[in-house]
């Protein structure tokens, strides 16, 4: 039997088992639910920028018009309802139909103190009242217009060259979480899968037909592809979620992000998955697995925190340095692309280092796996596994 055939057959079983496993399905279902429910909740609860204002008594039309203009300028809408009596207006306020009522051009009636609404509404009336007041002093229209010309609103000049910076950092943080979760779940699966074969002793039968190396490669590929499916589902859910929230920040770099995310997932999976597979080969019982995995768990948590730090403070020198460490690269790199401050040489160093590290770890894992997977009688130390014969 050729190596490639053995790998293919193991791969097929692995991916079929993974996709059919309830843990995988439930995991995906929960992820989808959380993302979609979260997005829906954001849409429902986020204050929509609609100001609902009631009018009672005598209000200058110019004030309403000016308020509408200023609200629309900041991207909101204004809805006006006129009331005939104070009782009607109060009832509407209490029912939550409107945010406030302007009474006779001088009073803002609200249910609870709302400085935001006051500062939003007040200038329009002040201006309208000012115009009226100027007219009563005997100035003609031209003079009033001239005087008001000096009261032009401030123009805004942005220092931040990238208006999407916050959104980009948010996407960076989300990409870290998605990659971390996917790599961890897939790593945990390969660990369980190795352990299952070892604790049930079926590995003895497997290795009477094929080599340990082929078995390991087939298993890594199968679990890896299943993890890719999982990540694609999560990313798809996130994109749908963004649509639900109605954000217009599906960024123009999302294509690149996707390629980087797939590449980084594979790197991360090879780095962490191969250690976890080797670690699982050291133990024979479920109970021992946790202890054998402790070094990997610590390593991955450190990489996770470093990546989150880099996503929230992307311009710090420390961020730039830690995101070049091989174990951090897989989680942090797409985020740095999202933020947009990754230089090409940083990318080359980071990815190159991670590829070299993944290659080394993979051959290390293959050695530990082949030497320890048949020792089903006890737990083996990492160092002992290196020099073990069979």
């Amino acid at each position: 039997m050729r190596s490639s055939d053995a790998i293919r057959i193991v791969f097929q079983r692995e991916i079929r088992t993974r996709l059919a496993s309830s843990a995988f399905r439930i995991g995906i279902a929960i992820t989808l639910l959380v993302v979609l429910a979260g997005a829906t909740a954001i849409r429902v609860f986020s204050s929509e920028d609609e100001t609902k204002l009631g009018l009672l008594g005598d209000n200058p039309p110019a004030a309403v018009e000016s308020l509408r203009q200023s609200i629309e300028l900041s991207g909101g809408t204004l809805e006006i309802t006129e009331y005939d009596s104070r009782d009607d207006a109060v009832a509407a306020l209490e029912a939550g139909d409107i945010d406030g009522v302007v009474v006779d051009g001088s009073e803002l009636l609200v249910e609870q103190s709302s400085p935001d609404l006051l500062s939003q509404v007040s200038p329009a009336w002040q201006t309208a009242n000012l115009v009226d007041g100027l007219a009563t002093t005997g100035l003609d229209d031209a003079q009033v217009a001239s005087a008001l010309g000096h009261a032009a609103p401030l123009t805004m000049t942005e220092l931040d060259v990238d208006p999407d910076r916050d959104a980009r950092q948010g996407i960076a943080a989300v990409s870290v979480i998605v990659l971390f979760v996917t790599v961890q779940m897939t790593g945990a699966f390969i660990m369980m899968s190795v352990l299952e074969e070892k604790s049930s002793k079926v590995v003895e039968l497997l290795l009477s037909s094929i080599s340990a190396r082929d078995l390991l490669i087939g298993k890594l590929l199968g679990s890896g592809l299943a993890g890719l499916v999982q990540m694609a589902v999560i990313i798809g859910a996130l994109l749908v979620g963004i649509q639900i929230v109605g954000s217009d920040v599906i960024p123009d770099f999302s294509g690149w992000m996707f390629v980087a995310a797939v590449g980084c997932y594979l790197l991360g999976y090879l780095l962490f998955g191969s250690i976890m597979a080797a670690g699982a080969a050291l133990v024979s019982r479920q109970e021992d697995a946790q202890a054998a995995m402790t070094p990997v768990t610590i390593l991955s948590m450190l990489a996770y925190f470093a990546s989150i730090f880099a996503a929230t403070a992307p311009d710090e020198t420390a961020s730039r340095i830690v995101t070049s460490i091989p174990f951090v690269v897989p989680f942090a790199l797409p985020g740095r692309i999202a933020v947009g401050n990754l230089t090409w040489w940083e990318g080359m160093i980071g990815v190159g280092g991670a590829i070299v590290a993944a290659g080394l770890l993979l051959s290390l894992a293959a050695r530990i796996y082949t030497r320890s997977v048949l020792h089903t009688d006890r737990r083996i130390g990492w160092r002992e596994a290196w020099s073990l014969g069979r």
Binding site: A6, R13, E197, L205, S209, L374
Partner: protein
């Protein structure tokens, strides 16, 4: 033919195999017997590369073993183990595929063999739903599904009920009749004696005796003579007190002799005590030979 020559393997302080030499011709059933820890499993695992021997050679039809040969061999490990949650046909077919069978061929063979073993109505059940005895049958199916030229079965009779033992005996006989070389280990000597043409006796990593059962019997000097006299004038236990006795009572003794020439003298002595009702001369049992060589 499988030929193992001078196989050695040491695990730390333990010399598990110390120059093991044995052969398994096609169409023969070879019984591999010895006490626990004698080196049976180490030898069998070496055939599949599960143990890297320190020395010695293993050949198949005169050529050193390569990975391709292993796909012609079937193996039933001493420590049983399969996928608990996998359907039994799917599982059996999976192992056939790992031995190089095509997907459709593997499924067809798996279905056929499991049905032959009486599991025809359980084909899609996961292994864990089956009784212990039925799981053993699946284990056997998995090792033989690809129609191997050599079947290596480590303690295949362990944990089987008498009915299952009888069925397995029959199965192995058919296998050998179809030209398969069968090597199986057991510590149930009566079974080995019944099934095998050839026996290899191993103890402490060394082969103590090997050959066909007949050869071993005739090469062993030990013989039993059972003598019975219904109404002896003198208790037989007293009459034969000078002989080596395996058992002795008033009316019956079992005498161990080294040479057939002693038979006439024994019969004469027995006649002096009265009418002889039983005088039987038996070749040694495998148990006797085992006791003799494995000491």
């Amino acid at each position: 033919m499988l030929q193992i020559t001078d196989l050695t393997k040491r695990f730390g302080e333990v010399q598990a195999a110390d120059g093991v030499t044995l052969s398994v011709p096609k169409g023969r059933i070879v019984g591999f017997v010895g006490p626990n820890g004698a080196g049976k499993s180490t030898t069998m695992r070496s055939i599949f590369g599960l143990v890297d021997p320190d020395g010695g050679t293993i050949t198949w039809d005169g050529r050193p073993l390569g990975p391709d040969d292993r796909s012609r061999f079937g193996y039933m490990p001493e420590q049983r183990g399969l996928y608990a949650k996998m359907g039994i046909v799917e599982q059996t077919a999976y192992f056939a595929r790992l031995k190089g069978r095509s997907a459709s061929d593997a499924t067809a063979r798996a279905t056929e063999l499991l049905t032959e073993l009486g599991l025809g109505d359980r084909l899609d059940d996961p292994l864990e739903k089956l009784s212990h005895g039925n799981q053993q049958r699946v284990q056997l199916a998995v090792s033989l599904v690809h129609e191997p030229e050599l079947a290596v079965l480590d303690e295949p009779f362990n944990g089987l009920d008498p009915l299952a033992v009888a069925r397995l005996e029959e199965f192995l006989a058919t296998l050998a009749a179809n030209g398969t070389a069968v090597l199986f280990s057991s510590h149930q000597l009566d079974l080995v004696e019944k099934i095998c043409q050839d026996v290899v006796i191993i103890a402490a990593g060394r082969v103590r005796a090997a050959g066909s059962l007949d050869e071993l019997r005739s090469s062993s000097g030990r013989r039993h003579v059972t003598i019975r006299v219904e109404r002896p004038l003198e208790p037989l236990s007293d009459l034969f007190a000078g002989q080596r006795l395996s058992s002795a009572s008033t009316r019956e003794v079992v005498v161990d002799i080294d040479d057939e020439s002693e038979l006439d003298a024994l019969l004469a002595t027995a006649r002096s005590a009265g009418q002889v009702s039983v005088f039987s001369y038996e070749p040694p049992s495998l148990g006797d030979i085992f006791e003799e060589v494995a000491r």
